[in-house]
Symmetry: none
Subunit: 219 residues, 4 copies
DNA sequence: GATGAATGAGTGTTCATTCAT
DNA sequence: TATGAATGAACACTCATTCAT
């Protein structure tokens, strides 16, 4: 049973395969799949998983990085195209951003787990790399903002985007309901929470950007 | 080992004692303590726990309800005292709100767990009661807002407060760092996240309220 | 809170009340109810239960004694009225016996638990008294048999009745199905077990008595 | 601590080892041993148990299937060899059957638990498979009966064998005594129950078969 | 006599991880 | 490299019984 040494590409490929499987399982269950479930679905042995990942939590981190990367990839061009007018920019960004979030549906369920998972079992370098990836995305977006017609100061751009991301995260948490409860969302008093997440997100981001851009520090 | 029949107060007291212990353990570990850990720390037997709580998850709910209730209790009077001027109101509320949040330090770590815990093991009525408690708090605050000098429409008040709460939740999640990582917050690139949560919260809430109140639907 | 010393009647009354409640619960669940369930349904405190019963298992014994006594009470007169002719007696007894069993529906579920319960937690005297009660019933019936027109020898009567009782017990066990399985009883191959217990019992007892009475040792 | 991949035989072997241990513990205590007791006695870890069994109850099912299979395996050849004469056949079968039952001593204690265990924790397919195995055994024996010199109708064979099995089950329950009580079996009044199970079984089965075969529906 | 708070040993099951092959 | 058998600590929860009041 001779197996040739894997080169980096092959290594990356198998890692990607496992991630794809894990992602699919997460989408189905909205919970982090067990290692056992992942390897079964991927058709490999348990030990093989640990050749690609140091621990179960690394899967989570990789998944979240991917999703966050996808969001940034969609948001940066949208930012670059923003108009100079504050109100128009707020309108346009909030709409594009809400769309981008809707297009990466697992991002928020994953992000909501960050703190509890990170605390658990990750080696420091992995945690660091993960957080640094978030920063990189944030700064890429802030850079686009400073180069856009809005010419927003980089530091203020970071702050605004951090708040935007926070609002997104928080709104999702506030409006997400256990399936068992959803049938009660139509009646009082829970109907207060019966809001379309995407619409709500757009409005909230609009208010936030409008409030910020009306007196911004320009570059 | 006195075991007289407990009246309601004593019953509540014992429950409160267990909650206090659970709260302390939560503060230490930032995870929901096991029943075993709670009863050991409280110096009672396993079964005693189940005289006060139907399940482990009920502890979480009780803890969160307490914290949320404390926040509402602090926020409602602050709202009632808001001035009519939009900017002044935004300034004043954001400051008072950030203080109130800072005064209930476990509220946000607990709230961040809501969705994962609720799904787990709670009977529907308990889940419902919990969510309805949140609504009640939100509406009490919105009522205060409509009676304040701002005279904000009740529906719009609810929406604003929901966003405020979402922003709070999300900001905490974004800025909270595992203890192991905190030492790296001072250096680039993670220093982007090295923001005082309270200050950041105040600023974000200010921007949100300012953006909203500048064109409000008055009552 | 003065409570007068209970006399024997009052004592027996409360014991009977608890038994009635326990019986009702058993009928509902087909499992031995917990002490907690019994006292809750009876409206007394937990400790009160232990004033009437030495252990949970004593309830089981008492329940079974009652049911068995009821069966014997119905069977003895039926035996006394049996005709001298073997075949006629077999026919008549099997019919009356099956009816009597059907009239005490909890007897068999209870009896099926005997061995596992008795092993568990009963003091020797209680076990003895219980088994002696069974003997007494058996012998009362055998006596009736020896005085009947059949004039069956007492020893042989005991043996026949023991076999009859065994067949009853065994048939019930063989034909009783967990509720979840009952829907499969109509299709092959499980339809082999889809027999009306009462009919089957009558036929089996008839065969047993016919085979025995055709060459009996008469008194 | 060798852990090579197991083939089917080895897998079966490990399962069989656990079953052997469980069987031994059952023989000692006459109760289903806890998983904890099984793995301790087998010298393996808790998790290892669940590599071979899906639940604790599966052990019970496996044990009972083995024992029942052994009984059928001994009874079918005995049936095939039965003579055509009713009385001779009854004599011969009852003797052989009682011997076969005596040779599988845990069958009856296990069988007596069937209903309570099945209800508990078994998935429907497992329950079904178990009951179907019983049917298969019963029908194999009935087939042998129809092919024997007796030429008994298949349906009537099933009915007779079902009664035979029921009688066996019931007699065992009636005559089995907790160990603590056995010393009292020699004195009145309990000496009524002081019967050798094997002898009693033979006589009862003889009576049953004689009564049935004297007017059988032949094939 | 009556109460019911307190007990705690015991239960079956899960699952991330390891390491001999 | 790849495997998957083995591990075992951890988990929430039950319930018959006791005994101070």
């Amino acid at each position: 049973m001779a197996r040739p040494t894997l080169n980096d590409d092959e290594r990356a490929l198998r890692r990607a395969q496992l991630l794809t499987v894990a992602h699919a399982l997460f989408r189905q269950t909205q919970t982090l799949p067990s290692v056992s479930a992942i390897v079964t679905a991927a058709g490999v042995a348990k030990g093989t998983f640990y050749l690609s990942f140091g621990s179960k939590e690394e899967v989570f981190v990789a998944l979240l990085e991917d999703s966050f990367g996808a969001l940034i990839g969609a948001v940066v061009p949208a930012i670059a195209a923003l108009p100079a007018d504050a109100q128009a920019a707020a309108e346009q960004f909030s709409a594009r951003f809400a769309d981008a979030v809707a297009a990466t549906p697992d991002l928020l369920p994953l992000a909501g787990m960050t703190n509890s998972v990170l605390e658990k079992n990750l080696p420091l370098p992995t945690m660091l790399a993960f957080k640094q990836g978030l920063v990189a995305g944030l700064e890429a977006a802030a850079l686009a903002l400073s180069h856009s017609a809005l010419r927003l100061d980089q530091a203020e751009g970071v702050a605004l985007l951090l708040r935007t991301w926070s609002m997104t995260l928080g709104l999702w948490q506030a409006l997400d309901f256990p399936i068992a409860l959803r049938s009660h969302l139509k009646q009082a008093p829970l109907n207060v929470f019966d809001r379309d997440f995407s619409v709500e997100l757009r409005q909230a981001v609009y208010a936030l950007w409008k409030g910020t851009l009306s007196q911004p520090a320009r570059r």
